[in-house]
Amino acid sequence: MTSTIRIGRILNPTDLRCVLADCSDGSILQKIITADIGIVKRLDGLIVADAESIIKNRHVFLGRRSPSYILRVGSEVLQASNPKAKVEELIVEALRMDFSAVISTFTIGHEDERIDSNSMKLIAMLSDVCYDYELPFIVEAAPFGERVSSENYSESVGLAARMAVEVGASIVAIPPLKKIEDLKNVVESVKTYTLLIDPSSKLVIEKMQQNLPDILLNALNIGLNGIVLSGSLNIGNLVNLLTDMLSLVHGRA
């Protein structure tokens, strides 16, 4: 079960779209906030790796209309002596802080299949606990590793995305694909909300020829619900980028 209210903070129910900014890389959050706080407040969600960043910038997040904040949980959790307990602790803390969702990455395609397996283990555990607490769970499903090539890329994306859904993700983020019909097939097999992973993200192996706005527009046209910006946040004018993204996704300036 997923809290309708929390999903609604991320995906605006009027258009079921969102623009999320991945700020789990530390400095980017401050950069955006100091650049233009008005733009930040219009974003649908900000991804962070810890609670501190939210607390330190509380003025951004107070009030009903403020952007939601999403907690990124990585594989370090599996290092704990009792990973399930650790996950529970993190989720509870996230709820206390009123995070709207949890996000994690699922990768498949490593030569050492144990890495694939651990990745699956992580998202399964997170999904399970998130479900208990009705916290929406976002999975970035990206093929990654030595075994992934241009030939098997689109099918690998389909594989990873479908696995994320099977394990219980509320929202799945997928990398862009060169052929738009391939992307469409993935969306159809996933059936839940899908977001585009930033083409400039470290997770995306296959580099795209088109520019970001075109890639995004095509993706939205075939039914994706928005984008998770990460790498692009470091390229060019930040405020222009965010403004363009918001107007593309939500249709208004």
Partner: protein, 411 residues
């Protein structure tokens, strides 16, 4: 003061708007306490109207919270508050199966409220009856759960039971507020003590914890509710939690909008009243509804002359010979007197449509008195006593509790 945890801070900021520190909450949890009362039978339909008016938050029970989550799912939607306790104490004689003793219970956990995405939980705290220690213990448990989950705790402290008298009522409200603060309330939902002076004392007793005022039974006129809102804000409340006065209004969205104007728009009630009035301000009389109380005459004479004297009122109420009918006679702006005046001393006020006399031109002949078809004119000190429509907001209309006097287009 202990600093609030971030979780409580951010959730409270969804209820109390950080831009002005004010809040308009609509209560829609009556079904749990009172059954399917008017206005909440089809809760979703009512709430859609309420939401159209733009409240900051809506209070519902957990069951409804789960069913109606979609109404709250957007960053422009109101925040959701969840009622976590139940009581029979409000089922007085006007409801089915009135209470015979005060009972109360927990009906939801704070954890469930967190999961569903609530911004706060609400619980009663009664002071004034034998079970109050148990009630305090229950609220204590909620308080510690709220600490654990960083969920704002809104306590509704109320004097309730045999130890509450007319003499100690205000003191009991203060004591209940103090207890609630002691128990860890992050906000309070309190009754209005009736006047701003005693209410200031209640606000003081809250030691800085935000105070919201509850609405109680539905008022006869929304004008009364708006006035109360204005008064409590002046006395230090941050907003209101109004239930029946919104959901039982024929137009809940309009009711919420008007309340917003006072709370966030910082407008006055007079501002709002005035914009509804267009000249001529005609007072309509519904004879069927008149009960012969003469309050209109008292209000008129007192407002104008500062004394109670029916013969100085600009209107009058007559009982019929058989005592079965009461008829108010008011100036109905027929302007017969204006036309009859041989000296041109009577003119019409362009703003309200009321008749005015120029003292220099008036000869005191009394022809106007004879010309009046409803006989509401009389000469006092040689000048006609004229209804001035109280500058557009007639006092007689305001004080009439029967809706026997109304203003066309207004309240």
């Amino acid at each position: 003061m202990i600093e609030l945890s971030f979780g409580k801070l951010v959730r409270l900021s969804r209820i109390i708007d950080p831009s002005d520190g004010r809040s308009l909450v609509v209560a829609a949890d009556h079904g749990l306490m009172l059954g399917p009362i008017k206005g909440v039978v089809d809760l979703e339909a009512t709430l859609r109207k309420v939401i159209a008016g733009g409240p900051d938050a809506i209070l519902v029970s957990l069951g409804q919270a789960r069913k109606l989550g979609h109404l709250f799912a957007s960053r422009s939607a109101p925040a959701m508050l969840v009622r976590v306790d139940w009581t029979n104490a409000f089922r007085d004689k006007t409801y089915t199966l009135p209470a015979r003793s005060i009972q109360f219970n927990k009906v939801a956990t704070v954890k469930e409220a967190v999961k569903v995405g609530a911004a706060g939980v609400v619980t009663y705290l009664f002071l004034g009856f034998d079970g109050e220690n148990d009630h305090i213990a229950m609220v204590e448990e909620f308080s510690s759960e709220c600490e654990t989950w960083n969920m704002p705790l809104i306590i509704e402290p109320l004097p309730m039971g045999p130890r509450v008298t007319k003499a100690n009522y205000v003191d009991m409200v203060k004591r209940a507020v103090e207890k609630a603060v002691e128990l860890g309330a992050d906000a309070l939902k309190v009754p209005y003590t009736g006047d701003p002076y005693s209410f200031k004392e209640v606000v003081e007793a809250s030691s800085g914890i935000p105070v919201l005022v509850l609405g109680g039974y539905k008022a006869l006129s929304i004008r009364d509710s708006l006035e109360v809102i204005s008064e409590v804000l002046d006395a230090g409340a941050v907003g209101v939690v109004f239930g029946r006065n919104v959901v039982q209004d024929p137009n809940p969205d309009e009711a919420v909008r008007l309340m917003r104007r006072i709370i966030h728009g910082k407008e006055t009630v007079t501002d709002i009243l005035r914009e509804r009035i267009k000249p001529p301000v005609r007072i309509l009389v519904d004879v069927e509804r008149c009960s012969g109380c003469h309050i209109c005459e008292l209000a008129c004479s007192f407002s104008h002359e500062k004394v109670f004297n029916s013969s100085l009122a600009r209107l009058r109420v007559e009982a019929s010979e058989d005592g079965k009918t009461f008829t108010p006679y008011v100036c109905n702006l027929c302007y017969s007197c204006v036309n009859a005046c041989p000296n041109g001393a009577l003119k019409v006020n362009s703003r309200t449509g009321a008749v005015e006399v120029s003292p220099e031109l008036c000869q005191g002949c009394g022809i106007c008195v004879d010309s009046c078809p409803v006989k509401v004119l009389k000469l006092i000190n040689g000048r006609p006593l004229l209804c001035d429509l109280c500058d557009g907001l007639p006092e007689c209309v305001k004080w009439c509790s029967r809706n026997a006097l109304k203003v066309e287009g207004g309240w």
